[in-house]
């Protein structure tokens, strides 16, 4: 009796979750019987609900109101009751179509991912740019922009492109800049950090040294922290949910979104977590995320094993459709991985 639930109790828990997600109102025993035409009475449901409440899967906002799922209730639902849902086929096709229509540009794919997830889940979406494990420099270019400013663009192994503006001590003509870039590029492809450092130390040209030192700084920086743009979308979706009717709550959640630190935390966690190769669900800020009290987050990695990778995710109220969200996140991350792999191999 302590550890396990009967089949009927699980069934009722699933119904409560489903009903509450839909209506956002405490679910009563009578309503459940009526809505799903159960072949046992409301009194029976009440008894089962009492058991579920004892197990802390359900709770009552106040004595003698309907039940709502607790955090543990959602977790149980996600892990054992939900089953492996998939997006409807026509939706899958529609999304694929959108991706193929986009220019074959990683940036476009990322913002498209954010937009698709926001639409599909009616939540707020997050997508990080690519992240390289051990960056190697393939090729670089220097372009004079304005005065002493020079734009440095470089391509890493795996295809990630970075850019940065340098301000040199004096104005240097484009011809000379091109020569410097050539000198570095001639050293071959896939230059790793040690060999770059060696090149820098041996460089006789001042400009060359400056360029190399900036690249090194950038690469080393990005190996520890996941930097880069975060694509966001669907903020208004989540704010229209009834749980954010209280402006104080809404504001707190919004601040979360504006502040990069929490998001970085969240996303990098997924990027580095090697064992969970599927979709990760964080319910009601499980772990140490106090800021996410009433929210749930669904995350997944994308990318090929050997090359670049990033994360896509969705944030919504704890009362969200996990089945829909998980399937959407899984589909988009798989699609991204697939497209990336394709664009490398071809």
């Amino acid at each position: 009796m302590k550890g396990t639930l009967t089949e009927r109790q699980k069934f009722i828990l699933a119904l409560v979750v489903r009903e509450y997600v839909e209506t956002a109102e405490p679910v009563s025993s009578g309503r459940l019987v009526e809505q799903y035409r159960l072949d046992f009475s409301s009194a029976t449901v009440r008894n089962e609900m009492a058991v579920l409440t004892e197990h802390a899967y359900l709770q009552q906002p106040y004595t003698s109101a309907g039940r709502i799922p607790t955090r543990e209730g959602y977790r149980f639902f996600v892990q054992q009751l939900m089953g492996p849902a998939e997006l409807p086929t026509h939706v899958q096709q529609m999304i694929r179509h959108q991706f193929y229509q986009a220019r074959h540009d990683v940036d476009d794919w990322l913002s498209l991912s954010a937009s698709v997830l926001a639409n599909q889940t009616q939540g707020a979406s997050l997508v990080t740019a690519l992240h390289i494990d051990k960056a190697k420099l393939n090729h670089l270019a220097l372009l004079a922009t304005r005065g002493r400013q020079v734009l440095l663009v470089y391509v890493l192994e795996g295809g990630e492109v970075r850019q940065q503006t340098l301000v040199l001590d004096e104005q240097i003509p484009q011809r000379r800049l091109s020569a410097v870039a050539d000198a570095i590029n001639r050293q071959g492809e896939a230059k790793d950090v040690p060999s770059l450092r060696l090149m820098m130390e041996e460089a006789e040209d001042e400009v060359e040294r400056q360029v190399l030192s900036m690249i090194l700084a950038e690469i080393e920086d990005s190996e520890t922290i996941s930097t880069g743009t975060i694509y966001r979308d669907g903020l208004t979706n989540v704010l229209s949910e009834p749980e954010f009717a209280d402006p104080a709550v809404a504001q707190k959640t919004l601040r979360l979104f504006e502040d990069r630190s929490v998001l970085d935390d969240l996303l990098s966690k997924t990027i580095f977590e090697r064992d969970s190769n599927g979709v990760q669900v964080i319910i009601g800020g499980e772990g140490n995320w106090e800021e996410l009290q009433n929210c749930s987050v669904i995350l997944a990695r994308y990318g090929t094993e050997t090359h670049a990778m990033g994360a896509v995710g969705v944030i919504g109220p704890m009362r969200m459709s996990y089945s829909r969200s998980v399937s959407a996140v899984r589909f988009v991350s798989d699609l991204m991985s697939e497209l990336l792999a394709e664009s490398i191999s071809s």
Copy 2:
């Protein structure tokens, strides 16, 4: 009596605006006398307020409550009563310091501008990237990224940098790409649209033609519409104002911010408006902006006369500190112009 106000009436109007901006509550005659130690009585103030209400500069939420300024009241205040305010010197210095500390990178300046404005005005800020009037191509580079993908980076006269990903029909080695880029670059600096088109038509190399046609498409596109990133900041500031306590209102405003179309409209209006060389104030959606009913927008252009330009702005509730916001927007836009001019000339 019809068209003009006495000095005292103007004075009282200014006080009402000031007090209402501070407290967000209807201003009563008694409170005004008490707060500002006026040397006439509340009854006198009441009489003057009645006149101001007749002129539609003030309104009452209901019979026998305090007064709040109308849209016209704010406008009168901004145009005739406010006076030329400036940010405190120490604040100016602090901001300057932040800008000088940033890497000399236009992108950094833009996001810094957004952040500074949001902080200074406690509103939501908007900053557009640069916009070129008549683009001329200075220099370009081609970098193989991944498979058939090639990154095209090019610098326009004035220093704006654009990039774009091409997908070629077949994989081309970096060596060959560099040769193509060189061929185009050797044609000299400041290549305008007609000369580019000529080059494209005469090009014998397939890759070269493809590259040129994409550049042409991009340039022609950007001459009509102001494209580019919009930097945003301080969303939470404006949402914490009491006028957005109603979640429906808050959501409407938020949607405004997420949707680019209105913002583009707003900003491009300022960019193209040649005559207003100062700061532009739009109160309560004056003109045709229904979406901005309860909001005010303060905008200014930045940039040098001959080169690139963009716009910075702030959105807040109609009840905002116009004096502080206008001075902040003016300061930041001037500073940006100054920095840009400097970085060109040096």
